[in-house]
């Protein structure tokens, strides 16, 4: 029986180590066990919700694995030991069924309490009031209580993200746009309309909240409000082809004034490029052999 006992002790130590890691690590390494957060209030609230659920999970984990381990050690076959011929215990079984159900009721309640804060955009900070504009809510699209946000269109395509910024008029064809890096003003609530042109993609900047799929033919919505300047990185989270791994995205948060300068520069760059293209076209129309 010696090797069996050694095996047994080893399993015990391993399980204890696993349990120990899960129980003790949060203090030491916060993000080792929890989702990314710190960029936007919705990400922070998901993080909080996760921590509550995780704590309940740890209790269940220690309860079940602890009982299993204790049972395996305590009731191993020994000389003279006789197994109790028990077929069941209705009261006990009803007890743990109700217990399991109660845990789930608690988790559901916590989720419903946390949900509005995660799902519904909040008002922009005062510092960013100049860059936000009224946005209409419709269907699943939610807007802040004051109805104002910076609404950016996110379009996924193999293998790059395109961002179209609002310009105040109703014509969507002349809006400033950028690829890969989105620039947003700090303190402004940014609402996103997420679409795709070819295959399914998924928009995700972990520190700015959950991911939302970009599916051709549909529009998906989410929001974030960056609280401090910086660069927040993410990447496409839905398999979109061979270069899926390199379909990266980043959000650069800057002060509102700098954002306005950025949009102005984008607009100038785009009109300069359009002018240059028109010039090339004119040259080519006149003489197809010309070097544009």
């Amino acid at each position: 029986m010696a090797p069996i006992n050694r095996r047994h002790i080893f399993t015990a130590v391993l399980l204890a180590a696993v349990a120990g890691c899960l129980a003790l690590a949060p203090a030491a390494m916060a993000d080792f066990l929890t989702p990314e957060d710190g960029g936007s209030p919705n990400a922070d609230r998901i993080d909080t919700l996760y921590k509550i659920v995780f704590a309940v999970g740890v209790v269940v984990f220690i309860g079940v694995e602890g009982t299993l381990l204790y049972t395996l050690i305590k009731f191993r076959a020994r000389k003279g030991a006789v197994a109790a011929q028990i077929h069941g215990n209705t009261r006990l079984e009803i007890g743990w069924t109700v217990g399991a159900a109660l845990i789930l009721v608690v988790l559901a309640t916590v989720t419903f309490v946390a949900l509005p804060g995660i799902r519904n955009p909040e008002n922009s900070d005062a510092e960013a009031s100049a860059v936000v504009a009224p946005v209409a809510a419709h269907g699943e699209k939610r807007v802040p209580p004051d109805g104002k946000a910076l609404n950016i269109e996110v379009t996924g395509m193999q293998y790059v993200w395109r961002y179209t910024y609002p310009d105040g008029d109703d014509n969507p064809l002349n809006n400033p746009y950028s690829y890969e890096e989105m620039v947003v003003p700090v303190g402004a609530t940014v609402t996103l309309d997420i679409r795709a042109t070819d295959v399914a993609h998924s928009w995700w900047i972990p520190e700015l909240g959950g991911k939302m799929d970009a599916i051709p033919g549909y529009t998906n919505y989410t929001w974030f409000k960056v609280t401090k300047p910086g660069v927040y990185r993410g990447q496409c989270a839905e398999l979109c082809g061979r270069n899926h791994a390199n379909m990266v995205a980043q959000v650069r948060a800057v002060p509102p004034a700098e954002y306005e300068q950025y949009i102005e520069r984008l607009r100038n760059d785009i009109s300069a490029a359009n002018a240059a293209a028109a010039e090339s076209r004119r040259k080519l129309d006149a003489d197809p052999q010309a070097t544009p």
Binding site: T11, E36, A100, G217, A237, G241, A245
Partner: protein, 569 residues
Amino acid sequence: MAADTATSPALEPVPQITAHEVTRERSGIIDWLTTTDHKKIGILYLVTTFVFFLIGGVEALMMRLQLGTAENTLLDPSTFNALFTMHGTTMIFLFVVPIMAGFGNYFVPLMIGARDMAFPRLNALSYWLLLSGGVVFYASLFFSPPEAGWTMYTPLSNETFSEGGGVDAWIFLVHLTGLSSLVGAVNFYVTIANMRAPGMGWGRLPLFVWTILVYAILLILALPVIAGAVTLLLTDRHFGTHFYDPTEGGSPLLWQHLFWFFGHPEVYIMVLPAFGIISEVLPVFARKPIFGYKAIAASSVVIAFLGLLVWAHHMFTTPSPTVVLVFFMMSSFLIGIPTGIKIFNWVATLWRGTIEFKTPLIFAAGFISQFTIGGITGIIVAIFPVDWQLHDTYFVVAHFHYTLMGGAVFAVFAGIYYWFPKITGRMMNEKLGMWSFALMYIGFNLTFLIQHTIGLDGMPRRVYEYPDVGNLVLYNRISTIGAFVLGLGILLTVINILRSVKRGPVAGPDPWKANTLEWFSTSPPPDNNFDVIPRVRSVEPMKDIRRQIAYQTGTGSEAPPAAESLVRG
């Protein structure tokens, strides 16, 4: 033993086999190719699916090698995408689902005291359909293997974005293995409904047979949906239809709904028979009746029912109304209850037993400890706002490997070690089995525990490379090392099987002193399984038979069959 029991008044010998003709025994390979014997078909299933398991395992190791370091150039993206597509497809369609059919084929007739499956030739057909599905799929290696993931999301799997025949090979695999499973499911259902030994009411059906029954019903409900869905994909790809094409009024989300309407029941199709194996193994080695037979049997049925209502929890990040998200979160919560009941009942089965630490029991205990983790993370990802962070990351990869690898596969290994003596007549090596378990257990947890953190740190799944940021390299390297330890553990069991088949000690009919009827026959059982089919008086007929023998021959110290054991169950 059969001779002894034949003298018992309760086990009256009735001539039950009538020979209509005498056929010459076929030899070797022809016999295996033409067999309609459920045991031989079972062995064909088990061996074939285990080979696919090893192939899928090699694919996994190649992926882990690629991910062992940041920005690795070992594999190119198309190879990597093909690898995870083939790995997922192989493990699900060619390993876990059909190996359960393999165990079912071999043991359902034996456990219910039948001489074969209800439709032996249909049974052979179902095996050959499975094999041809596997061959058609793997033939794509020679032209262009599919790269769109085992979920084949449209539009990526459309002709525009996935040229070549890889996706078509996948579609035919789904059709062929699907037909195989449907035919097999009907066979299981009819066999279990009609061919039980006298006295074996529904309340005395072995728990493994219960789960195979539910497995069959789920297959019958889920497979036609995927068969229709992939046919639409096929016509989209080649015959000009636009079911999933958004530019022509079709819907990519339709595919996701149809796929997961099949895909989630498929998860329970894989894991329910695993639950059944655990429910058979634990009482034998704890020397104690299963705790709460009815609750365990009923929870399988409840899990199957709820399993049909949770599919859209795979789609929490798609554009869906809140009411849909809430419904599928709540239904996914609900399924945690019957699953929890099973875990509690298993632990209670061990409680106050006299646990013999044989390899099958150890794998079963490993199963419980790992499946519990998979269950807890399952509740975490069921909460849709939390899932927005976790979906399509390595957290989810870790979660489902805890249920399917740490769960179903560990149960399969428990089943292999438990039933190997019955199938081959020889025992497997216990020491090698222990080593195999130890390496698998350490390797598995090393591989997948850290993947939760990899996902929480923002690494999506299905990426062929990742940047060197944070601790990603360290975490991924731990995972890669773990995968190879796990592989080594599996290799030890392969060696164990190959050695023991020829050289293992002779097992005898009932080496474990088990509870169910398969142990009543010789090891391996003869063509028609039983000389006589005993009357079943409880959920543990072999325990009754052993007591009866001990009582009649005066060899044992055990009391005569207690009134309770005649009534219970």
